[in-house]
Symmetry: C2
Subunit: 358 residues, 2 copies
Amino acid sequence: MNVIGVVAEFNPFHNGHKYQVEMIKKLYNPDILIALISNNFVQRAELSILNEEDKVNIALSMGYDIVIEIPPQISIQNAEVYCENSVRILDKIGCNIQVFGAETEDINILDDLIDKLKDEDIKKYTSLGHSYNKACFMVLEKYGLSKYYTSNNILALEYIRAKKKYNLDLSQKIIKRVASGYNDETISNNISSATNIRNLIKNGKNYENLVPYKSSKLTYILEKEDMIFDLFKYIFLRGDIDSIYDLSDELKNYISNRIRKAKNYEEFLEISKNRNISINRIKRIMLNVILNIKDVSVKEIEYIKVLGINKKGAKYIKNLDFCYVNYKHIKEDVKYEEFLNYLKVKKTLRNSIYREDL
Amino acid sequence: MNVIGVVAEFNPFHNGHKYQVEMIKKLYNPDILIALISNNFVQRAELSILNEEDKVNIALSMGYDIVIEIPPQISIQNAEVYCENSVRILDKIGCNIQVFGAETEDINILDDLIDKLKDEDIKKYTSLGHSYNKACFMVLEKYGLSKYYTSNNILALEYIRAKKKYNLDLSQKIIKRVASGYNDETISNNISSATNIRNLIKNGKNYENLVPYKSSKLTYILEKEDMIFDLFKYIFLRGDIDSIYDLSDELKNYISNRIRKAKNYEEFLEISKNRNISINRIKRIMLNVILNIKDVSVKEIEYIKVLGINKKGAKYIKNLDFCYVNYKHIKEDVKYEEFLNYLKVKKTLRNSIYREDL
């Protein structure tokens, strides 16, 4: 039985995602196809542009049998934490195949990159003040391999590492991405990156040809950056922000010295970024503080939230007792829910998650 | 040397306050007259209607030599905490006379009330589920004395108790209030209660004849109740609200069971109040949670913030080394400041607090 899992953000779902489903069906004959998705909070530590309900409905209508949530405390962290925990969830829910997109199709090349990226070599550069990603790039540059250090390959490397680390019985398959990079803004064959589509949406431009559904039916979450900054700033200065994930005392001081000088989100990122600290890391720490995410939360996976299933999916999932279909009673979940309420982002709590196609 | 202290809210300063200053000058010949005031946060756990700068300027122009802040963690608490700590501050800054307004001028009657209000008798009623104030009223009713249990007499009782408790060398003088009660809405001799004036301001009505200054010069802080509720709700549900002042585990559960049912401030108060828990207590707990006020903060007075002085006041205060005139460096203060910023309430941090008359 082929239980195939795909880790994705669908921010938003686009023709590239549809192409991936078609390729999976053609190449790997799935009995059950599972999407493990970032729900309201994505890896860039931003709100997902698509409303949860729309996102889940689209995934089901496009051929997924089960849609599961990457716990938000994980979905906003760096590639290592995000990928490692996602792969562990896939394993936990019985996937024997993981499919992911990458710029490089040949898994041997990726294995080689992992061998070359030795901790001690990376440390040589991080100790000079370079960020982790920059240090990796510099290590690979010495071998003439830095051209492979691209945004989706970075995630792919982490998926492969996680499989090895936990010695999982999971076959990993790569489908080469058609659009050439995560941040790519060119359009080919009506397949474009999510970044490009988000920009079109934000600018009120047409992108109907880039997505496999009627965009007029969708609800987008508008930018809430300044509300997020104001709340972060207040909670940070209110005190008692101990044991927040990735917020060392040093970083706390660093932020303390800057936070009151910034008038808004953008200004704060501008004055906080430096060679050591990426903008994404600052954004993640902001959400970690607001959402009171502590060390422990990203290390343990206690429950799995099923966001959507079709009948085939329901039959499969009923044997997994840690998967909650009705999760109103998950206490940990309240703060995420409440943060969306605070931002006036509507999120529907469902009693039943059976859904019809769009 | 007569150093006279008055504890007040000036919310807003009105003709009754002016009358009090005139009476003090006539009766007690002050060498130094000190106003110890609630600054941005008043005892009903609300924002003060007057901008800090206006409030301090008015007090100085009306004859006070020194204006000192009741620390906000104290200024929002119940009568006992508010009065006890205020009297201790008056003592600490060298006052030998405290003057306060009350409905009853005869201090012997107030002393008698204190004798009658025995803890064990009060407990008989609170154990039946009555609030502390209601229980006191019921005790006094048995002696036919409940007519003296009025809003300003309640504060007066606490001032007198505090003096006795700490055995302070402080003479306490009462000036009978002209308006008959704190909540009184009738107007006599152009003296009206602050409550009445606030209502006039909120309703855009004229009250020029009730205050001793040009009201057109003043900046009012508009109501921010729903912003306060949204922030409270988020911080409460975010978790980690331990050791908050007056928030027992029982009360935390009580609030947990109600908070998500309320859409706004008013609704929350409505569904939270009961015979045991007054609306003011709920409002205080909301601010205690938002401002992260813990047990310890209301028990210790570590510094005293001077908000305004004239030259005579400056000469007096320079011998008190715990009085800060420039308090930009008081770390504890940041969260109060930041809460006002969050609410978009402008508060001027001053380097120099010398002021001219209005």
